[in-house]
Amino acid sequence: MNVPLSWLKDYIDIDLSLEELARALTMAGLEVDSVKVIGLPLPEGERHEFKYSGLAWDREKVVVAQIDEVMPHPNADRLVLCRLNDGLQEQVVLTGAPNLYDYKGQGPLPRPIKVAYAKEGAQIYDGHQPGQVLTTLKRAKIRGVESYSMVCSEKELGISEEHEGVIFLDDDAPTGMPLADYMGDAVFEISILPNMIRNASVLGVARELAAITGKPLRLPQRRLPADGPSVVGQVSIQIQDPAMNPRFVVGLLRGASARPSPYWVQRRLRLAGMRPINSIVDATNYVMLETGQPLHAFDYDHLRQRAHGQPPTIITRAAHPGEKLTTLDGVERNLDPFTTLVCDTEGALSIAGVMGGLESEVTPQSQTILLEGASWNFINVRRTVASQRLNSEAGYRFSRGIHPALAQEAVQLCLERMAAWSGGQIAADLVDAYPAPVVDPVVELPASEVQRVLGIELSAEEVAGLLRRLEFTCTVQGDIVTAQAPAHRLDIGEGVVGRADLLEEVARLYGYNNIPAVRLSASLPRQRRNPALEGEERLRDALVRAGLREVATYRMTTPEREARALPLGAVQAETPYVRLANPIASDRTVMRRSLLASVLEVVERNSRLRPRLAFFEIGPVFLPNPEAPLPAEPVRLALALSGARHIAAWDRPEAHAMDFFDLKGILEAAFNELHLSDVRFEPTQHPSFHPGKCALVRVGERVAGVAGELHPKVAEHYDFGAAPVLAAELDVAVLLSCIPARYEIQPVPVFPPVLEDIAVVVDEDLPAEKIEAVIRAAGGKLLTDVRLFDIYRGDKLGEGKKSMAYSLTYMAPDRTLTDQEATQIRQKVIRRLDQELGAKLRS
């Protein structure tokens, strides 16, 4: 909402600077986004809380002037010479403004034209360049005539984009007055909160300002008599559903003639962001901006024609099935059955509260104007606005709720303004159908509630005093304030809700920043553990320590993107997804099911950037639940590694590419940190992974997920580097469920260990896990560590054999082991390896 300062001053005295005013409005909830200055000086100094833009007019060089005669240019048809008086002297000024051509060669004008005149050296915007380009007026010869000054358009003065002709000021503009003094202004761009639609008008802002500053509000006064024949009997109104249309008021203006509105009206409309049309339409828009009540003007004679010469009947009703209406913007609209229409006996005239129909619209020829001011159910209007995708100033206001009391006031005010600017005679009376009068809520607010919720101690009288500033009608009895909402707002509720609404108003007027801050005095609620979060965070830390970077990806994807993580043909056609009804982009249509697919995309994105890539993400996937509307959201961990095992240095070349065992080592390190016991990697098959390099990760009895080297056929779906990609996707809940509630540590040994190496020859396909298990079982408690340090294959061993070399540590907690004891264990280990696995000691 754009509010010109000059207009605001019609209703309230303002002695604040621009900055102070912007701050006062903002701190009351009318947030000022920017201030556009029109001719006035911009605030000085470096620091401004608000954004300012605009052009200051030099008071000496930009003034009101009058053109006394328009003369033809001797050498150019499209230029004229103006005999102009700037209050100090008379001069001849050259201009090409088309709106001066009409006056060419008429001799001295009986009524001088008042204009905005910029003298030599004045800074204005260049009217011939797009946007706002500053220029300084200099002396020049144009077609043999000297030119050094200019009669200005709105664009040149930074008022609007208008550059069709020069500004014709109103006749009462005082010649010679600095233009900034005559019509300097500032436009406040204000964001209106959804519950403050009552302030979406100049009067609404003034009203709020009156409440904040304590200055009196000057409501517009009736000036013109309504002495024409009464409107009663000239039109009747039928409201079919008062819930949808609580009030419908009409008034009549006879003998009007549309003409350009006074310049100050046009300027205000433009500053507020609307286009001036003619004095009739402008009056409806002006009063809407002024009061917040949208109005609609019908051509009464046309309606009477439709009613076959009889007084027309206005009917408001829901649209019929299949009903259509062509609106003012020329669009034929299919109407929804919930949409309310304004009709006559012949059919629809306009979409109630949103936009008029093309056919019944006032035209510049209309003489008898039927003016509608109505109130509509805001939820219903909102549905229509959304369904028709039709944004209008009226729809914006009505869809947020306009108090029915405004309808009558605005119709009266508009008739007066219309008559003042268009001529004509206002018909006496109004036809007012008000079948569902609003009862403004009465709310009881004990002062103790102010203390309980806001934490400030105010007497009931003080509370009432604050509310009265906002025009609440208050009575005080003991501790209790009984307040009735003023007849211009619909945002105050009943009962406890109404109390909260009043508390907000009390806080706002008291000033949020005057309420003392205190530290929470309520006792600390019972504290609770959050094992899932704690576990996830431990897992994150463990993986970071293992050298992985955490990533966080979009949770929206497409089935096609996720299918890249599978070989062609492995995709199940009917994978259920949580699908978006209104995806914003074709590459974000569903909620992800696979975290791995997201992390692989991160590897792809970075594949050319770093020689070593190691990523993980912990986050939910979304699995539709056939039994319930809401999906399951299990948390997954996905890892992906690719490239060099360590980072190269100037004396250390790049390492080998990471392989399965790097992935496994990282997982093991992380699992160790979580004290997960009984973790096993079992060979398995999974379509995403290399069939020989893929493991099922089992923790105890539960399957946590899979880990392996990506299948080459999957890898080729991505733009990866040459190195293999190792990846895993694990269920975090399974991992965390296996974290022991507590664990015990081993005492630090006091006695020295006996170290020994053995190498055994076994069949190639014997898993290492089994050998180690036999060694540990045979070694018993005194064998404290078993570490594989070498695998050897070679001709000497024979086909299908491998030698596995282990380093064994023997240790007793209570004594130094003797060589004989160590030898005994060793022999038992060798014997059992032979018996159980056919493993032979390698000599």
């Binding site: 903002t26 701190m27 009351a28 909830g29 470096e46 620091r47 809380e49 909160l193 519950n195 939820i379 869809s399 919720v453 806001l454 934490g455 400030i456 809700v497 109390r499 909260a500 706002r508 309420i515 003392p516 530290r519 929470l520 309520a522 006792s523 600390l524 609620p525 504290q527 959050n530 979060l533 965070e537 994150r540 993986l543 970071v544 050298g547 970077r549 955490e550 990533v551 979009y554 949770r555 929206m556 949580v578 978006l580 009804a581 209104n582 914003i584 982009a585 974000r588 991160v602 994105r605 970075n606 950037l609 070593r612 890539l613 190691a614 509307p629 809401l630 959201e633 360590h646 240095a649």
Partner: protein, 347 residues
């Protein structure tokens, strides 16, 4: 009979000769060779010991004593010389082994937490110190929890504040804020007091640009109890702002509107870049908009299972990514989910 004086004389010359040779030893190898030659098993002095048996009972003590003195003297001299040489060698190596300390170090393979996680943790820590505990809720939510129960009925104009992603299941949407967690937490804990942090990913139907994202984290705090006031809200937020932005930072509240709180406010903190003097980060205003907050609306309290005539509470919500953008001068919000290592490595 042996000639005792000659034997003793020999010992003296063994010592003199060995000491003389030791003088000319210059390195570790020479030192070891000298030790083998003069203190080894077959050295002259050790031979004297092994030949002691051949001497008479009377001669043995004196020869043995003398030989021992020679051995001790040689050992002492050896240790001395050994020390001297070691010191000299150390000196030489200290002189010679000079690095170019300006060469780059070898990088360890470190991991890192995503900046969003780092931000969330920082907020958890600060709020955790004030007794707020994390309570998480789902991403895919019902219209009822995301809107209805939060005092945002269908077709209410307040719904315009959230551009919503809907799913194909009617009444199921992607949460537009973490506030549904308010209802979940209240319904779980009522009538106990509540002091929770509600974090999580939220979604808005907005064109992705440098300034706006379709998904973003939000963190809310919610406190419900008897006697919680707007003053408590201010005090808590001030403490929070000081912990996050500096002990001296100033804050202010501006009236605002959220359907689930009343009174509602936006909190600004004094720009931590310029200290309030005005800079490009705060667009010259000296203030940064950090969070929205307010007293929990009576309808929401009721929907959560608390009697609004007895209980009161406050809620406040912020966007950690937005705060991170201000703090680290991140110019493009898309960096967060873009996961370019050149971004991630900087945290």
């Amino acid at each position: 009979m042996t000639d005792l004086p000659i034997l003793l004389q020999n010992l003296t010359s063994i010592q003199e000769q060995a000491l003389a040779e030791l003088e000319s030893v210059q390195d570790e190898a020479g030192l070891q060779a000298w030790r083998t030659a003069h203190l080894g098993r077959s050295s002259a002095v050790m031979r004297v010991f092994s030949d002691l048996g051949k001497l008479s009972k009377e001669e043995r003590p004196q020869v043995g004593q003398n030989a021992n003195q020679v051995k001790l003297a040689l050992e002492g001299a050896f240790n001395l010389r050994s020390d001297e040489l070691r010191q000299a060698a150390l000196q030489r190596s200290l002189q010679n082994e000079r690095l170019d300390v300006t060469l780059p170090g070898r990088a360890p393979t470190l991991g890192s937490l995503h900046p969003a996680t780092q931000n969330l943790r920082e907020i958890y820590r600060v709020l955790g110190d004030m007794g707020f505990q994390v309570y998480r809720a789902r991403d895919v939510e019902s219209d009822e929890y995301n809107f209805e129960l939060l005092n945002i009925p269908a077709h209410h104009p307040a719904r315009d504040m959230w551009d919503t992603f809907h799913t194909l299941t009617p009444g199921v949407l992607l949460r537009t804020h973490t506030s549904p967690g308010q209802i979940h937490a209240m319904r779980e804990y009522a009538p106990d007091p509540v002091r929770v942090i509600l974090p999580g990913m939220c979604y808005r139907y907005e064109q992705i640009s440098a300034r706006s994202e379709i998904q973003f984290n939000q963190v809310e705090m919610l406190a419900i109890d008897k006697g919680i006031t707007f003053g408590d809200l201010k005090g808590t937020l001030n403490d929070f702002a000081r912990r996050l932005f500096g002990d001296e930072v100033r804050t202010r509240l501006r009236p605002s509107y959220f359907p689930f709180t009343e009174p509602s406010a936006e909190m600004d903190v004094e720009c931590f870049v310029c200290g309030g003097k005005g800079c490009p980060i705060c667009k010259g205003s000296g203030w940064l908009e950090i969070l929205g907050c307010g007293m929990v609306h009576p309808t929401v309290l009721k929907n959560g299972g608390y009697d609004p005539a007895v209980y009161s509470g406050f809620a406040a919500g912020m966007g950690p990514e937005r705060i991170a953008m201000l703090r680290y001068r991140i110019t493009d919000i898309r960096y967060f989910w873009g996961n370019d290592v050149r971004f991630l490595e900087q945290f």
